[in-house]
């Protein structure tokens, strides 16, 4: 890494990116940025335009309009310059079947302008980091399992210590142990490299990423920190409770402390009734609800505040029409 180079405000900038295939618009007016050292999750349903956007950012595909920069270098005007700061692992992670892992990484290091005197050292380092040294270094890539192939792809991405790493579905097809390993590896990059990662495993993105960018039908629908998006997209507070009381009694008890409450019946079993109680944002009843219900003589077996995960945020964001999108 060239430490003397000035630090840009954003490591990755996509500005009004648009990609059209004839009459089909894959990506439209998409704008977002990734700060240096930040890990950003890039989410969207299948066909939302994630891979297309990543390919435009990596310079393997040209956009129809808009601007993409990597570490301040325009991908369209200076693709070689942009690629010097970037490593990109495409979705299916294509690798030559007939090369050995170490041999392949050595070739890639040379092509990525790693100082010739440091090639061996870097290859050994990324192989250690990706746990390839012991079990895969001398093997043909064609003989490796899916998990090890993904590791080779990630090792390749980290070889030249790029400023920006773009990973398209890096954990696809991996078992839980392998996912944990890759997650730890990506987490270890925080502060060192800007990472843009697309994944369908939302729990994994939530665990690893500082920020998420959500697109739908080629357009931005939400971006920001998970907590901020949770507040924006899922403003209501809700509780799930299990009780002997019926819906009418419960609603009456709740309305005494919060008139704007909603009660929804959930599937019940064993003579117990389950309900979801929704309160408006900022309602003081959030803190007094359980006590108020007990005081009202309602027997409770269980009461818990619902924690909305990234999955709920994702569903809420992708349900929004693109015209409502937040462009922060």
């Amino acid at each position: 890494m060239n430490e003397a180079a000035p630090l840009p405000e954003a490591a990755v900038v996509a500005e009004k990116l648009t990609k059209r295939y004839g009459s089909l618009t894959a990506v439209e007016d998409l704008s977002f940025s990734v700060a240096p050292g930040e890990i950003v999750g890039f989410l969207g349903p299948n066909g939302a335009g994630k891979s297309t956007t990543m390919r435009i950012l990596s310079g393997t595909m040209s956009g129809t309009s808009g601007r993409a920069t990597i570490w301040g270098v325009s991908v369209a005007l200076n693709p070689a310059g942009a690629k010097r700061h970037l490593a990109y692992m495409p979705e299916n992670n294509p690798l030559p079947e007939d090369m050995r892992v170490e041999e392949y990484l050595t070739l890639r290091a040379r092509l990525k302008d790693v100082d010739p005197s440091r090639v061996s050292e870097r290859v050994r380092k990324v192989m250690d980091d990706c746990d390839l040294t012991r079990r895969a270094s001398g093997r043909l890539i064609g003989q490796l399992s899916k998990g090890f192939r993904q590791r080779v792809g990630i090792a390749d991405a980290l070889l030249a210590e790029p400023r920006v790493v773009i990973l398209d579905e890096p954990t696809i097809g991996l078992d839980p142990h392998q996912i944990l390993g890759i997650r730890d590896l990506i987490r270890s990059l925080r502060g060192k490299m800007a990472v843009l990662i697309s994944s369908h495993i939302l729990h994994e993105v939530e665990q690893v990423c500082d920020k998420v960018v959500i697109i739908n039908r080629g357009r931005l629908v939400a971006q920001g920190r998970t907590e901020d998006l949770r507040r924006e997209l899922l403003p209501e507070i809700s509780f799930t409770l299990v009780t002997r009381a019926d819906e009418g009694t419960l609603l009456a008890a709740c309305r005494k402390i919060e008139p704007a409450v909603f009660v929804t019946a959930l599937p019940s079993a064993d003579g117990w009734n389950s309900f979801r109680i929704s309160l408006p944002t900022g309602s003081p009843a959030r803190e007094t609800l359980a006590g108020a219900l007990i005081t009202a003589g309602i027997s409770l077996r269980e009461i818990a505040e619902d924690r909305f995960g990234l999955e709920d945020i994702f569903l809420a964001a992708t349900r929004r029409t693109p015209g409502d999108s937040r462009r922060s």
Partner: protein, 253 residues
């Protein structure tokens, strides 16, 4: 042309380890060995103006059409199919460097095949000597012919590379290369055999036809006649094909 040497070394290594190269090499040596054997048999039966080496070289079109497409077909088509070409282009290596490295490595393999062919006449002369005809041991015909193969091979390999760039199917790339090389090899002769003299409106074809006579070029090279026109033709044709190949690789999405 950054990274050209790295890519060339990689391509040469891949070619040396590829079953495809060894199969093509085996086919080439079997074809040329067979042709040379029959040329020797023919020469022993009746006197001829041509030496066995000349007669064998006259059949250069056979490995050109049957073996060269096998060498060029996988260069880009296979990499496009598997996605490794796109992965390669995510590095700072340029499309020009990639195309030239693949072109030069394939040309080197092609020339090596022909150098291996020289072992047949060499061992023939070693074993049999030059009974009754000193021309049998004259290496100038062989080396002149090989110079033609090397120079024309630049364009032939470039055509094969271009054909491999435009498809994801190796088989289709081989078929395209076969058709293009057949058309190119036969074009000069076919045009010369047309009654151009009697068709005034075809008069403009006379000059290009004279330039495209591939077998005439072989004859000139084997006779030691160094004419710059075929060299310019093959050189510019090579640059044109490789330029189109670079555009094709850069334009792949």
């Amino acid at each position: 042309m950054r990274h050209f040497r790295t890519l060339l070394a990689h391509e040469l290594r891949s070619a040396a380890l590829s079953w495809n190269t060894w199969a093509a090499g085996g086919l080439f040596l079997a074809l040329m060995g067979g042709i040379h054997f029959f040329a020797l048999i023919e020469a022993s039966r009746a006197p001829s103006d041509r030496t066995p080496v000349e007669s064998t070289l006259w059949f250069f079109w056979l490995p050109l059409l049957c073996v060269l497409p096998l060498l060029t077909m996988r260069t880009f088509a296979e990499e496009r199919r598997s996605g490794t070409l796109a992965a390669l282009l995510t590095t700072p290596a340029s499309a020009t460097a990639v195309v030239w490295a693949k072109f030069l490595s394939t040309w080197i393999v092609w020339v090596v095949f022909w150098l291996l062919f020289t072992l047949f006449p060499f061992f023939t002369v070693q074993r049999l000597g030059t009974p009754g005809d000193a021309r049998l041991g004259d290496p100038s015909i062989l080396w002149g012919g090989l110079c033609f193969i090397a120079v024309s091979g630049l364009l032939h390999v470039a055509i094969g590379i271009l054909c491999s760039c435009v498809t994801r199917s190796s088989a289709l790339a081989a078929l395209l290369a076969f058709i293009c090389l057949l058309a190119m090899t036969a074009a000069g002769g076919a045009m010369e055999s047309l009654p151009i003299e009697s068709w005034e409106w075809l008069g403009w074809l006379r000059e290009p036809a004279a330039h495209l006579r591939t077998f005439g070029h072989l004859q000139d090279f084997a006779a030691g006649i160094l004419d710059s026109r075929p060299i310019v033709l093959y050189g510019t044709g090579t640059l044109l094909c490789l330029g189109l190949a670079v555009l094709s690789v850069e334009g792949q999405e």
